[in-house]
Symmetry: D2
Subunit: 289 residues, 4 copies
């Protein structure tokens, strides 16, 4: 890839490592809206400066939380999604995250002056499932005070995260059971070597698992189902908010349930920066940007 001029605006420490990684590949990079102590990457003093400089703009993960401002947890000012920003973004190639339903980022069809690409792609999600799984395992050992080896674990759901998580647990010598709604997913899990059960319900026997990882974004662990778990079970809920566990009931029953979100950015920010980079590279290649 030719050397490019890239501007990174807003976001957390991942965006800083993204900048580092882009520079290592020979690109020129400027950052704005990320206040960290560093002297290796050029900081812009204003939106105008960075947008004068860069042809490619990378917004953070997620790009906005309130649909009004860019997500800038490491910045003391707001960067509003307003017409001034829109004007500055004219003719730029923009990479944003989870913005498909946000008006600001939609192509202005009449003028076609803003070219925005959402990098929350299938590729991004698959790549992200790995640090999510490694992070979930990390939490499990920290909370259980036990090694994965000799554990008896249940992975609820066999999608992107369920697949790689059950593989890593198995490779670390946990006795792994996978639950899935679909017969074909269960069969696939089975030929990979895992025990299989149906999705937990009030008739399941769950007392033997010392760690349960939930990856399904439905309320599976209701009071009825929690009553089937052992009090010593640790539940790590990886499903996006509101999650799959009735936390109040878990607490009442003395079962520890942890809602673990954003693990890649939290535990592996360098890897996260590299995942963003490789996803953006893929978009550049695919759309010939």
């Amino acid at each position: 890839m030719n050397s490019k001029k890239l501007g990174i605006i807003g976001g957390d420490i991942r965006q800083y490592y993204l900048a580092q990684s882009l520079m290592k590949d020979g690109h020129t990079v400027m950052i704005y809206g990320i206040n960290i102590n560093n002297d290796d990457i050029k900081k812009s003093n204003s939106l105008k400066e960075i947008l004068d400089f860069a042809n490619y703009i990378i917004f953070p993960v997620p790009t906005t939380r309130d649909e009004k401002n860019i997500n800038t947890p490491l910045f003391d000012k707001n960067i509003p999604l307003n017409s001034k920003l829109k004007a500055l973004l004219k003719n730029k190639i923009i990479f944003s995250f989870n913005t498909l339903s946000i008006a600001f980022f939609k192509k202005d069809v009449k003028s076609e002056q803003i070219k925005s690409f959402d990098y929350n792609t299938e590729k991004f999600k698959i790549l992200n499932s790995l640090p999510t799984a490694e992070g979930a395992i990390k939490i499990a050992t920290e909370e259980s005070k036990k090694t994965i080896k000799n554990s008896k674990s249940l992975v609820v759901g066999y999608g992107r995260i369920g697949k790689i998580l059950s593989k890593l647990l198995y490779d670390l010598n946990s006795n792994v059971t996978v639950s899935a709604r679909k017969e074909s997913d269960r069969t696939q899990a089975n030929i990979n070597g895992y025990n299989i059960i149906n999705t937990p319900n009030k008739n399941s026997n769950l007392s033997g698992y010392n760690i349960i990882f939930n990856t399904v974004p439905n309320l599976i662990f209701t009071k009825d189902v929690l009553l089937k778990c052992s009090k010593n079970t640790l539940i790590i809920d990886l499903a996006s908010a509101p999650g799959g566990v009735d936390k109040k009931e878990a607490e009442n029953l003395g079962i520890k349930a942890i809602h673990a979100l954003g693990l890649p950015g939290k535990y592996f920010p360098k890897t996260s920066g590299e995942i963003i980079k490789s996803t953006i590279y893929e978009l550049i290649k695919e759309y010939n940007l």
Copy 2:
């Protein structure tokens, strides 16, 4: 499951092991149209006898090759798909294989007297992918005269067979590369630890692989692509007929290409019998038969 009366008609040695396995589970079993020396399973002397006896009839894999007779490689007579057979099958529950497009096995809607279930299900296919993969590895070592360890292998396609085959090769310490058409499949393969490339084409560099497994049922290995392989490459084509390799061109170029079909039945007939059994059990459970 309650003890049932099952009749197994036609097929190869797998059906005999299926019968054995069903008996071990407490069912009563009779076979017809499978001439092997055995004294543990009751052989029927006629179609009528077995159909008088059994409520559940299991036809072979595949049930017919010519749409005229049941597939009976181990029998010296024909069992025609005719009205006599149809009459005898009245009120029976029938398990047949790959018969969805064959008129004989379609439900007679008016009378609803024949209840036929095709056991070439997704579950069957997934379960079968494992012995296919183990069988492919077996052939690879026999033909290459080398261990899998230290081999450099390419698995073309990342469907059911591609997935489990690449896993087994990797676990046996081959240096595994997977090719897939879809970016998301390649990414998934990559997070499982395999190298990835695009589907082989005339611009690919394939000279480093000593074994190539093709699982894609399209003509991928044309002369142009074969020219990119080393002469020492062994190609094992697992795609259903006509396969994915131009065999004549391979021969001209001195590249060994083996079309390997029906591996589960050929190499692991007992496992195959058990796979048929568990698929049929699943159908019985699902449809409450």
Copy 3:
């Protein structure tokens, strides 16, 4: 095993989990010299009380650090290795750790009244290598901010810890290289699937590894060898003090080197308690105690 009366004296949180685990197996347990908030295990008010109660006494890991007092990091008083203690231990079966060279724990041959067994056995060491390896991996991801997947790791030494550590790294999809002094160890590592090199020396090329785990208790990483590493390399030194890395030189060169000791107790205290338990059970069985 029959229910026994066990007294646990001194030590860290592992000894508390050891007590819990022994109780689950049906033994009666009392602790002394471990001040933690708990109400599930009976605390003794004095040495005399616990030694009146118990027939089996378990001292901590290590049993003493100064050869004068029992190691009691969670206690506000000293428990001296004096004649008073010796008198109280008369006729008890004692499990102590790393005490073979400490006069106090040697059998009083004349009277044979103290029976002391050192539980720092080969079995203990092997079992402990697993949490050491899981802990080392934990530190590596925390310090590198990256997943193990996609890392390039070097494991120096192929003893107990080197073996299980390289296996776990490999299973987590690191590109693993093992170094060992002995040709046969390297060959063994190689057939397990790892790359192999000689023990690092001033002529090695080490620049490609982003994590180096040292398990060898010799000064291998001198200035000369550190100069062969990349500045971005993270070194995790698992060798017992003084370790295998010249820390001062590493610091001068800007290479992060972490001396990581006591990982099982630090990160997996419950597993550690179980390892102590199963080692002690083995001694009870072996010596018919």
Copy 4:
């Protein structure tokens, strides 16, 4: 390594592949006493011709079976270990196999004119354990007609072969149990993820294993022990003659026991040739030959 002149005398098809592999590395090679149809490697017409040509002589695996002649299964003449051969070998560097106790190959101390190196080294044995394990698995599937997946296997002995065999079985998703005499070996096997038991004896319960691999060269499977196995158990005995199974008793009891020897050469002759090559290279390097 500089190009060398090598002569390969006697042996089976492995020695031919050894010759091929040496040529690929740039050496000049001549063979004698291996009658196969080939036109890629120069055949010598006489002992004198090959010994005039080569400085390095490689004798086969094993070099002799009767201590009188070179082992030449693919040759219609004898090559006796006589004074004529000894004279021709003067000043040559000789690689022989399992000849340490054979007078002919011992250094003639007075003249020191014959330099013989036995390549049955520890390295050779470790490298050979891998094809032995892959071969054992191959036999197991052929004889059982079942996949390794879903099998329940017992590996008796945890030496070189036991270690790699249990690993491969585990990776192919067998439920693996390892037996070993030594507690520390069992513990090591256990942290690798295998079930463990004591060495089979008349009190063992062995009925649950469908495949038993013996690697221990002692008579372990006596009648008493065989009575503890299921009739459906398949025993694959990998121990060198006379093996570890009372074959007559096994036959009486209807238990299939296969004495499987020489698997690397039988199933993986190319890999075997490469193993010989790398062992000889190691000797050349170590002794600066």
